[in-house]
């Protein structure tokens, strides 16, 4: 009962702050709203018993990626930043792209029940603990894990290469 109330509260916060992120004029406020959204989503993870995922969500998204975003926003010269005039063509195109993405998401969400991704009968609440996650990640998903390190390496090289062009 209580977890249901918490769920509705968190969902309200998540949706509200996500809307705030889109509609606020000042990009810094957008970043702050997005951080609030991340916290609400982390709260949802907690409700599902995925404690590790919740903590990681906060550390990586709110603590690392949004710092990067804030840097970018602080780098922009906000005072001279006028609202960019977008042509009707761009607007229509972005509306179309966003609409397609939304359709895909709706289709996926609708199918979750028939796919039976979540089976309450076999659902193990301890699965979200770091111990269990580690056992699964380092035994069953070994190859994706090792591939992830290749991905990190290429990201590092890319970041250094792109910024070095500016430095040189």
């Amino acid at each position: 009962m209580l977890s249901e109330y918490i769920f509705w509260f968190l969902s309200f916060v998540a949706v509200f702050s996500a809307a705030g992120m889109i509609f606020s004029k000042n990009p810094v406020y957008s970043v702050l709203s997005l951080i609030v959204t991340f916290f609400a989503v982390a709260g949802h993870y907690f409700l599902l018993g995925a404690q590790f995922l919740a903590a990681v969500h906060i550390i990586v998204y709110a603590g690392a990626i949004m710092v990067l975003f804030l840097y970018v926003i602080m780098m922009l010269n906000l005072n001279e930043l006028e609202e960019e005039k977008k042509s009707l063509y761009t607007k229509a195109l972005s509306f179309f792209a966003g609409g397609v993405l939304m359709l895909v998401l709706i289709a996926v969400v609708r199918r979750t029940e028939e796919l039976q991704l979540i089976q309450p009968a076999v659902y193990n609440a301890d699965l979200g603990l770091t111990q269990h996650l580690g056992k699964v990640l380092y035994k069953e998903f070994l190859v994706p894990f090792e591939l992830a390190s290749v991905l990190f390496l290429s990201a590092m090289v890319g970041a250094v290469y792109l910024s070095k062009k500016d430095l040189a």
Binding site: G49, K135, Y138, E146, V160, L167
Partner: protein, 124 residues
């Protein structure tokens, strides 16, 4: 949702801590706003620049190096996060897990060496 009670008793104190801290911060801010004198003048509220007249604006673009540090931080942070589930299970995963993680970290070291050799972290 069966785990809610135990999780609730674990995380309720943290929520409470946040509420107490927010309450303290807001009250103190309100009090200092209420007690402090308010005699604003144009010069007083001007940006402080050691007495020299303010030229331009503070919000100008800065070095791309700070940005690069932030990107590298994100990458290394995620790699560190990947290592926590492994470290917790370190004893159970045994030698195989050790080799597995060493190869993961091997590529990370290669990345770090590349970053340093290219002088990406050179501040002068």
């Amino acid at each position: 949702m069966e785990t809610a009670p135990s999780l609730f008793s674990l995380y309720f104190p943290i929520v409470l801590m946040a509420v107490v801290a927010i309450g303290f911060v807001v009250t103190t801010m309100a009090l200092t706003h209420a007690f402090g004198p308010k005699r604003p003048t144009k010069v007083k509220d001007d940006t402080f620049e050691c007495g020299i007249e303010v030229k331009g604006n503070a919000r100008s673009p800065f070095s791309v190096k700070y940005f690069l540090v932030a990107i590298l931080f994100v990458l290394f942070d995620v790699e560190v996060i990947f290592m926590y589930p492994w470290a917790v299970n370190f004893r159970e995963l045994g030698l195989f897990g050790l080799i597995e993680m060493f190869s993961f970290m091997g590529l990370m070291i290669v990345g770090l060496i590349y970053i340093i050799r290219r002088g990406a972290l050179k501040w002068d």
